[in-house]
Each structure stands twice: as C-alpha cells, then as structure tokens.
Symmetry: C2
Subunit: 244 residues, 2 copies
Amino acid sequence: MSEDRKDIHNSDTPELCRSCEARHRGICGALSPDQLITLNRVANRKEFAAGTELVGDSEEIHNYSNVLSGVVKLTKTMIDGREQIVGLQFAPDFLGRPFHKESHVSAEAASNVNLCLFPKTTIERMLNESSNLKQKMLEQTLSELDEAREWMLTLGRKTAGEKVASFVLMIARHIDPEAELDNSKPVSFDLPLTRADMADFLGLTIETVSRQLTKLRKAGVVEIEHNRHFSIPDMERLDRFSGS
Amino acid sequence: MSEDRKDIHNSDTPELCRSCEARHRGICGALSPDQLITLNRVANRKEFAAGTELVGDSEEIHNYSNVLSGVVKLTKTMIDGREQIVGLQFAPDFLGRPFHKESHVSAEAASNVNLCLFPKTTIERMLNESSNLKQKMLEQTLSELDEAREWMLTLGRKTAGEKVASFVLMIARHIDPEAELDNSKPVSFDLPLTRADMADFLGLTIETVSRQLTKLRKAGVVEIEHNRHFSIPDMERLDRFSGS
DNA sequence: CGCGGATTTGAATAGTATCAATACAGGTGG
DNA sequence: CCACCTGTATTGATACTATTCAAATCCGCG
C-alpha cells in the first residue's frame, strides 16, 4: 500500500530479507518490520563447508541462526565415541536452544550450509517483546518434538530395512513437500548426507545401511546413481517398505 | 500485602489450586490470579486407573490436562502392533498438543493417575492472552525435546544393558530430584511401570529387560524386591553402567 | 592413470529376539 | 487357611538380525 512513504520508525523490510525463505516460513515471519530491521542490522550471513562444527557439545552459545540452505545435523556423542544424530535442520529452521547457557547437542554442517547468524541477546530480547515470535518458536519446537518421537519409534522398533526405507522417505518428502500429498508422483533428489550420516541417524552401521540400500535397489524401489542421487518412481511402494 | 482486601476482578487463588503442585512448578504457575480463577471454574479433577486409555492415536482432542500424580505414557504403535513409548509424563507436566486437532501419539495411564482436565478452548484462549503461559509451554516443550533426544541416543546406540541402566537411572532421578546432584545418596522407589512398559520404552523385549535387570542385581548395583521396589545404594555406580 | 576416501560386498561372530517352560505374587473361593 | 488361578516376571535353548573385521570396488580428482 504505502510503499513509497516511510517514517522514521517504520520502514520497509530490509533488502536482504526480501528474498529470504526464513522471512516467510521461518521465524522472521513472526517479526514486525521494526524488529526485522533491528535484527537485520546485527545479523550476519555466512557460509560453512560440509563437516564444519557449528556448535560443540556443552559449548557456550553466543549465536542463534536461521538455516538458509543446506542441512545441519544435531548429534550426541558418548564418551567412547558412539554417535547418534538426534535432529536434522533444513531451511528455514531456527538453530539454537533458547533459555539454556549451553547446548547438549553438537551441531555440524552435513552439507555446505548458509546460515544467518544473530546475537543470542537480540533474539532473547525479541522473544520477550514479541508474543508472535514466541508463538512461532513454540510451533517449531512442537514439530521438532513430533519428529523426534517419530524417530524414537523408528529407532526402537523398526528393522534395519524399515529404518533405511523410512529415512529415504523422510528425506524425499522434505525435499519435495508436494510428494507428501501426492503419492503417485515420482521424486528424485541428491542426498545431502553420507552413508555414515545415515547410519548415525538410524542407529546402524554403514555396512548395514549399504546392504539395505542394495536390497531396495534390487527390489526396484529406489534407483541410485553416483551414490548420492536417488530416484523414487513410486513413493507409495517405498512407503510399504517403511513399516509405516 | 493486601491479603484481607480483594476487589471484584482480582480475588485470591482458588482453594483447590493452593496445594496443587502444578500451581507452582506446572503451567498454572504462569497464570494470573484472574486466569487461575477462570480456569478453575471449568477445570475438572479426575482419577484414572492404570491401563486406562486417555487419548487414542489420531483421536480428536477436547481436553488438555495437568498430571497431578502418577505417570502417563505416550506411545506410538505400528499397524502390526509393535509399540514404542515416546514420552513419560509425571506431575506436574502438561498433557496435550496445542495447535493440532488430533494427537499422533496415544496417552495411557501407566499407573493410577490423577489429572486436572481443562477444555481445549479455554487453554488456547489463555495461550493467546498470556505471554507468560506461552513462555512456560515453550519451556516444557523444549525440555521434552531435550529428553526425547537423550532417548534417541539411548535407543540408537546403547546396548541392552546400558539401556536398562539408563532407564533405572532416569526414573530414580525423576522420583528423587536431589539425587541428580548428590550422587552419593542412596535412592529407593517403587517403579511405576511394568517390565512390558520398560521394554516398550527401551525398544527391547521383556525377556531382555528381565535378563539385564538380573545382571544389575547380581552385580549389586540395584536391589529389587517384589518386582517393583528398587533400591540403588550407589547412584554413581549405576551411572557407570549406563554408558553415560 | 593412479591415488584416497567412500561405498559395497563377503564371511564369521555377537547380541537380541523368539519360543517354551518355570517361578512368583496377589487375589478368589472353597 | 489353603489350594487354585491369573497375570507378571524370570530363566533356558535356539534362531536370526545386525555387527565386526576384511577385502574388493567405485568415484572424484590431481
């Protein structure tokens, strides 16, 4: 409406935010134009190479961030080195654990990742000001909890074959959200994770993951090229391998 | 201060709430006296016997509630009947999944349980009014997420023995929060769950759970009487069996 | 073309599950 | 009060799934 007029306190959305996915679907969608401008002033976009440790376990956190592209894995590690991935964050997820000094997971770039970093204090102040932001944060946290519980079922009760099928299914649906609804549509994508990551996510060894993938391949449920490129001709068929 | 005077809109906390644990540590602690009165008018205390299904999977929810005593288990079930417990709620936890029509877990009373039930709509209205309540809800959800992730590590990477030890440790610490800090103090308690529940929580069979418990017993780490009563002379020792 | 990391494949082993039998506790009725 | 019954838990023998260790293959890249 009044796009050519702006007063001192209430100007347009910052340049950088306009084309940002997080502006709409992410937490920034819950911010007022004023807040967006404030946040933008202290925000810092940065790229991280695959494998970079973003936040160490029990490390004090100074920044929160939004995932703009790529995949971040949240992992837990036992003293003897056993590792479990406990969460995967895609764009436009918010990355960070409000109200705690230190994280009890470590965050690592699974693929090359672009983040938009914010000082912890700014976000926390805005959380107190803005009920909308708190709402958005609550919604994201609730759906992360839903996902975590879904994976608890997978980890605790599914066979290796069902685990791998469930994983491929989850990634496929994340990359092509339409496939969630239309099961007949074929989907193909580049897997942003290594076999070792898959194993760490599923509580298996890389050998077992590999064996189960060949089974799926031989059954014609997935096609795999160059190790990373997956094609799924029939999602419903894959679904039947996941134990649902 | 002005405890002998009250105006029309702002009276004292309701009788029933005064001695209620949820009033302090639970979500009710985030409500204004006014809100507490309103909520109390529509609240409904009720006891449920162990084994009662409180909310079925994919069932529409009309009530939220606070757990006043006992333990509620949240479970997920596969079509073929395999079951996984994905959460345990103790007093004064809030029970329910805001912003979703239907639950994707089912809730069952693991022990005899006392709940304080509220109409869904009342809570949702208060969530919009009260930033404090939203805050409290966010905090509970975040710590449930932390717990879920801790269990993902347990489910995915620990051995049967470590799983059982971790479980006993978790229950002990839940029942005696002081033990969290003082590892030297012996703890004893009545387990509010059956062996079958333990198995469903840990992704094991009851036979494996039983075998691992006897191992712990023979190692002198726990003493078990009448199947349900557990004593742990040395929490630190138990901790060493949990894989940390 | 050849190197190094990632992935697949193979054979032997270990850890849980499964199936079956037994023990135990609490409650009921003779 | 005891014998019985039922549901819960323990113990034992065997089968099977996934892990472990080892080797071969594939892939990207200099």
